[in-house]
């Protein structure tokens, strides 16, 4: 598994994936730079808790960035193997198909959480720059950075599954586009839709539920995808 993962990291070289993991969180914070740049005084009047209000503002774009990011990352990573059908070369090596799949998933999860970490630092950096108050709410900051990523694990597992078994790469891209549309309209979606989860919204107002569901269902979808991937003939 370690060997496969280092190979997978080598394969994403020059593919711009690291840049993407940087652009995503940067974009989310940059939107608030515009927002606060234009009407900082007005925004600071909206709430007693300036940090809390700022975090909510940042978070309003995080789910969209994550869902879009996952769609792009998974299809890039699958395209690396699909382009010249390198799956057949990879799977004819003395490795188990389950580990091949696990390695891809791990790679994606690492990129996703790396992106979340960047989001946390960017959010904190700009928050400090705005001088929102002396006590930085570190717990809330971490929560708004990592919870959406955990809640998005089912989307990651689903997109990876579709991208690695589809002969037609239009299918995962279509699913990705619908996912982005769903994420954009999270507040309209019923609670059971996985695309709503990164928004951390639910009828009980308990973000933790989305996190636990994300990890649980994410794991389940991962297992299903892995078994399906291993079961199929390699074209």
């Amino acid at each position: 598994m370690g060997k496969l993962l280092t190979a997978d990291f080598l394969k994403i070289k020059r593919k711009g994936l690291w840049l993407l993991t940087l652009i995503g969180p940067f974009g989310v914070v940059a939107l608030q730079m515009v927002n606060y740049g234009v009407r900082k005084d007005y925004l600071l009047q909206q709430s007693e808790d300036d940090w809390g209000y700022y975090l909510l503002n940042v978070h309003s774009f995080t789910p969209l960035a994550i869902v879009l990011g996952i769609a792009i990352l998974t299809s890039f990573i699958a395209s690396i193997e699909n382009e010249t059908n390198a799956w057949k070369q990879l799977i004819a090596l003395p490795v188990s198909k389950l580990t091949v799949y696990l390695s891809k998933f791990t790679l994606l999860a690492i990129l996703l959480f790396f992106s979340s970490t960047l989001l946390m630092f960017f959010t904190m950096g700009y928050g400090l720059f705005l001088e929102l108050g002396d006590t930085v709410p570190y717990m809330e900051l971490a929560k708004y950075s990592y919870f959406p990523a955990f809640a998005a694990l089912p989307i990651l597992a689903l997109q990876l599954w579709i991208a690695s078994v589809s002969h037609n790469q239009g299918i995962p891209i279509t699913v990705g586009i619908f996912g982005v549309i769903f994420a954009y309209s999270s507040y309209l979606l019923p609670d059971w839709m996985i695309w709503k989860w990164p928004s951390l919204m639910n009828q009980w107002n308990q973000p933790m539920i989305n996190v636990l569901l994300g990890v649980g269902i994410g794991f389940l979808l991962y297992i299903i995808g892995m078994i399906d991937f291993a079961r199929r003939d390699v074209k």
Binding site: L4, T6, K88, Q89, A92, D233
Partner: protein
């Protein structure tokens, strides 16, 4: 007899289509096994099953005396392969492509230079594969298959789409391997001429069935020249010959014999002339291996 590869009633169907049916391959150590058959005969499907990329619909595969479904990883550790079009990562250099595989195989870094040397890609090692010619990509694929010094090398149409010089180059490379490294090689092709000069054993598939499996010499024996006699009255001449105890065949107005020494030709001419038949032409018709191959596969297709 110990076989490196042995399949028993190996079959694969895609829906209703039977792509491979009841294949019994037997491949001994140190052979260069030419796996021949027209396009669509089922060569790639068979090779995919040998590599565990596809599951057989029925039948068993034993490689190194082990079952591929049970001990796939152990078996694959000793196999190098190149299936159909070469696979590569175009955005990486040749070296990086091999490095990605090397990491998984866990062999030493020096192997990369060694295999690049073997396929003569050292000068372009640090160029992106995107810009490589098909022949270079094909050679990179062979380099990749050699990385872990496999005991068995499986190459599926490695010369497909190459120009004649590329074909010769790959052929020379493949011929060296069993001698220098003690490898067993399976190489598939739809053109007999391509493997005629390197294979020691031949297996011919047509429509998913194995219709011939033996040494290349045995196959050459099929390619004995045939002698034809054009005469003024073929049928009458043929009867005289039979009456004189000469086993000849008759078809479309000509008399012909499969194996014919010079003395026999002289004797036949003498008999014919004595019986008052005019001999117009005596010709030797050489049949190439390619003709034999075509005839075998056509015969099967006619059924």
């Amino acid at each position: 007899m110990e076989y490196i590869v042995q399949t028993q009633n190996l079959s694969k169907s895609f829906g209703k289509e039977q792509a491979v049916s009841n294949l019994n391959l037997q491949i001994r150590k140190g052979e260069i096994y030419g796996f021949l058959g027209p396009n669509g005969a089922g060569k790639t499907t068979t090779i995919r099953m040998l590599l565990g990329l596809m599951k057989p619909s029925s039948g068993t595969i034993k490689i190194f005396e082990k079952n591929i479904t049970k001990d796939r990883i152990q078996i694959l550790a000793k196999i190098g392969s190149l299936v159909e079009n070469p696979s590569y990562y175009p955005h990486l250099t040749a070296y990086e492509n091999l490095e990605a595989l090397r990491k998984i195989l866990g062999v030493s870094k020096t192997r990369i230079d060694e295999v690049l040397e073997i396929v003569r890609l050292k000068e372009v090692a640090h160029k992106k594969v995107k810009g490589f010619s098909l022949g270079m990509k094909q050679r990179l694929g062979i380099a990749a298959s050699l990385l872990h010094s496999p005991e068995l090398l499986i190459l599926d149409e490695p010369t497909n789409g190459l120009d004649p010089s590329g074909i010769i180059e790959i052929r020379n490379l493949i011929k060296r391997l069993p001698e220098e490294y003690g490898m067993t090689i399976i190489i598939s092709s739809h053109l007999l001429s391509e493997i005629d000069q390197m294979a020691t054993q031949v297996g011919i598939v047509s429509k998913g069935k194995l219709i011939f499996q033996d040494s290349i010499e045995a196959m050459r024996r099929f390619a004995q020249p045939k002698v034809t006699f054009k005469v003024n009255n073929g049928e009458k001449g043929w009867r005289f010959l039979l009456a004189n105890g000469i086993k000849a065949d008759y078809q479309n107005g000509v008399i012909f014999l499969e194996e014919c020494s010079d003395e026999k030709v002289a004797h036949i001419v003498q008999v014919l002339v004595q019986e008052g038949i005019s001999v117009f032409r005596v010709e030797e018709e050489k049949r190439s291996l390619e003709d034999i191959f075509l005839q075998m596969t056509m015969g099967e297709q006619g059924k």
